[in-house]
């Protein structure tokens, strides 16, 4: 039987890494994800986890170490936050290009400026199109479950792709939540040891990462495209099996909260959704027809599922916790992705973008309340006077 403990997102992730019997871990300190690594270092020192714990010389080095380790057949783990995530940028495409299923935890942090320790999704979103599976956990429980499911998805021979398992810095990584920790034997059944026949082994010599000529390029990129598109089916299968084995059933793509008969809804990802849910509940108590759709998997983007979820509302507001200066719609990437998913319905269903919680500020109940009131106002008027609102300045 599993046990229930009150632990942080960091400890939940580290616990999952231990349960996954990871072979090589590469660390480098940067707040707030550091908590995951110090917990893993303790587990290795105490003999709870048998793994090589390599002190990376920086995030670029971290990703390079797991690139080599994964290519040699090891299950690997690394992680980072903020500018650490962007410092490693060079290595993300080679990892997915060589189809190495490494896992990286990202506990979000702002880039510089402002350089504070607060959470902002900008770091992880900078690397969103590199051929990695990516999604956000909203609670420590989800962080643990996501780590286990992502290894299983990424290592599936039909997928073989790396994964960014993201959680909001502090709001998830450092806040305690009740976590049901599964037993090791059951995890082993769900996640058998990593097997890949395309590894660096002198008994089966092969060349990994040879330089291609331009005419070979389209085929190579097409394969990576097919891998991430093909992962959709595997993502669904793995979530189903996880639900059957551990009793926690997740919709892999979107979580709908009080969306039945809702007229307006927010579209959001990550831990701020938990705050927003409280506001939804209160407004529902007051008779307001509001709801919330939380995106769980960001890459591959569930275009059809988002379209299905959002097309039943009169107005949709997206909540972007990232900066995307100069982007179409002038808000954030969730707005553009939601609009793309809803293409053809734009006239019928106005979408507006809210940019909030930047620099690690929390998004308050009051701010979510204002967003819902704005959506109601737009629903009544039939159109928006403006396509984006930067909080707290414009709302």
């Amino acid at each position: 039987m599993g046990v229930v403990k009150r632990i942080s997102g960091c400890v939940a992730t580290a616990t999952a890494v231990k349960l996954a019997d990871v072979d090589v871990i590469c660390s480098y300190p940067i707040r707030p994800y550091t908590g995951i690594m110090s917990e893993l270092a303790r587990m290795v020192a105490d003999g709870e986890l048998d793994a090589e714990f390599v002190y990376g010389e920086g995030e670029h080095g971290q990703l390079s170490v797991v690139y080599g380790a994964s290519a040699s057949g090891a299950r690997t783990f690394t992680g980072s936050s903020g500018v650490g995530v962007t410092y490693a940028m060079e290595v993300y495409s080679p990892i997915s290009g060589e189809r190495l299923p490494v896992q990286m935890a990202i506990a979000d942090r702002t880039l510089d400026p402002p350089g504070d320790f607060g959470s902002e999704h900008t770091d992880a979103l900078c690397c969103r199109d590199q051929g990695w599976i990516q999604g956000w956990a909203a609670t420590p429980q989800e962080a643990l479950d996501m780590t286990l499911m992502y290894y299983r998805i990424g290592e599936d021979p039909r997928v073989l792709l790396p994964q960014y398992a993201c959680q909001d810095g502090y709001f998830v990584s450092h806040i305690l939540g009740e976590v049901d920790i599964p037993e090791a034997a059951k995890v082993k059944e769900f996640l058998p040891p990593y097997k890949n026949h395309h590894v660096l082994d002198v008994r089966t010599p092969q060349i990994i990462g040879a330089q291609m000529e331009p005419k070979m390029g389209p085929g190579m990129q097409y394969q990576r495209y097919q891998a991430i598109e093909g992962s959709r089916k595997v993502i669904e299968e793995v979530h189903d099996e996880f639900g059957r084995l551990f009793g926690r059933k997740y919709n892999p793509w979107v979580e709908e909260f009080m969306t039945d008969d809702a007229e307006v809804a927010l579209f959001i990802q990550g831990g701020h959704a938990e705050t927003a849910k409280t506001v939804v509940r209160r407004l529902r108590n007051l008779g307001e027809k509001v709801g919330l759709v939380r995106l769980r998997t960001f890459r591959p983007f569930p275009t059809q599922q988002v379209r299905d979820a959002l097309s039943k509302f009169k107005v949709v507001g997206t909540v972007d916790n990232s900066v995307n200066f100069g982007i179409s719609g002038a808000a954030g990437v969730l707005l553009t992705e939601a609009r793309t998913a809803m293409y053809g319905m734009g006239d019928k269903i106005p979408t507006v973008g809210f940019v909030a919680g930047l620099g690690g500020e929390m998004i308050t109940h009051d701010e979510f309340y204002k967003m819902f009131m704005k959506l109601k106002e737009i629903a009544k008027a039939g159109k928006a006077d403006k396509e984006n609102y930067w909080l707290p300045f414009e709302l």
Binding site: V24, H60, S64, A69, P94
Partner: protein, 312 residues
């Protein structure tokens, strides 16, 4: 344990770096690669940071190795090697493989070792991974069309250090001494040596010593480049010899804290004899050549070779 090769005739016949690549005629890095692979043998994994030995070897998606090879970025040969080593340690210990621990050899150019790859190289040696890191020095970023690197000699023409009326000598800076940087300050270092493709027996035995060492080993191999240095393709071996005979390159090793000169020329020749054969130095004036002579004399003195050619 790899045994000492007693003579060139007794070197293994098997090749693990085979024909079928697109390096230039007379390519020094390719010649030394063949010797390294021969000495290392079949239980070897090569890593190729971006550079000539990646681009010219793997064009069209194929490569000339009979052993596993993996590309790394030009930045991270040391880090990827660390990951391979850590993986093998873990999966052997945890009985997830029945493979033997392999020789792990990084084949990095001078840029991928002394410049953009320095951080990853130094970190791998600090951490004590059991790898052999080879820096093959052809003294420029050659694959991108000959640009200066930290090991490009003073006075050499490159496309980033052209000679002109304002800068008559071309490259104004003295080269970085990477072996010296590696020898001091990495407490886990187990073996370090310099070698030249013109001294093949010495080179192969240094590869074996490096691989036999239980921990990080560093080998710095001088590898003349006909294209980058502008000399005829049949003069590569001669150029390597002249570099050693003029004191522009020294052959030594550092083992268990002791430096040892592994080859001492009978007579030191003037630097001019080496540089006059290379187009990259053709613009130099006597005062520039004197500076190069001073540089060579300084390096010779450092390793304990008597300086016999005066510099003004």
């Amino acid at each position: 344990m790899l045994e000492e090769i007693k003579s060139l005739r007794k070197a293994p016949e098997e090749e693990y770096y085979v024909p079928g690549h697109r390096t230039c005629a007379g390519c020094g890095p390719a010649l030394q690669y063949r010797l390294v692979a021969k000495a290392a043998g079949p239980n070897t994994i090569f890593l190729g940071p971006t550079g000539c030995m990646y681009v010219a070897n793997t064009s069209y998606g194929c490569g000339p190795w009979a052993v596993p090879w993996i590309h790394t970025q030009i930045t991270n040969g040391g880090a990827v090697a660390s990951g391979i080593e850590a993986a093998y340690k873990a999966i052997i210990r945890k009985k997830k493989t029945d493979a033997e621990f392999p020789n792990i050899i990084v084949m990095a150019g001078d840029g991928g070792s002394s410049d953009i790859g320095l951080q990853a190289l130094s970190a791998a040696f600090y951490r004590g991974h059991n790898i052999l890191f080879i820096a093959y020095d052809n003294e420029s970023y050659a694959n991108t069309g000959i640009q200066t690197s930290p090991t490009t000699p003073y006075g050499a023409w490159t496309t980033f250090s052209p000679a002109g009326p304002v800068i008559p000598e071309g490259k104004k800076l003295m080269p970085k001494d990477l072996p010296k940087m590696m020898a001091h300050g990495h407490p886990e270092l187990k073996y370090l040596a310099t070698a030249s493709l013109s001294y093949p027996l010495d080179l192969m035995n240094k590869v074996r010593k490096g691989l036999n060492a239980e921990g990080p080993a560093f080998l710095y191999i001088h590898a003349p480049c006909p294209k980058g240095w502008s000399f005829p393709a049949d003069k590569t071996i001669e150029m390597g010899k002249l570099a050693v005979e003029t004191g522009m390159f020294q052959l030594y090793e550092l083992h268990e804290g002791q430096y040892k000169l592994t080859y001492q020329p009978k007579e030191i020749k003037p630097v001019e004899e080496y540089i006059k054969l290379q187009g990259r130095f053709s613009h130099l004036q006597p005062e520039h050549i004197q500076k190069l002579q001073q540089f060579a004399n300084g390096r010779l003195k450092e390793v304990g070779i008597e300086v016999s050619v005066p510099a003004q």
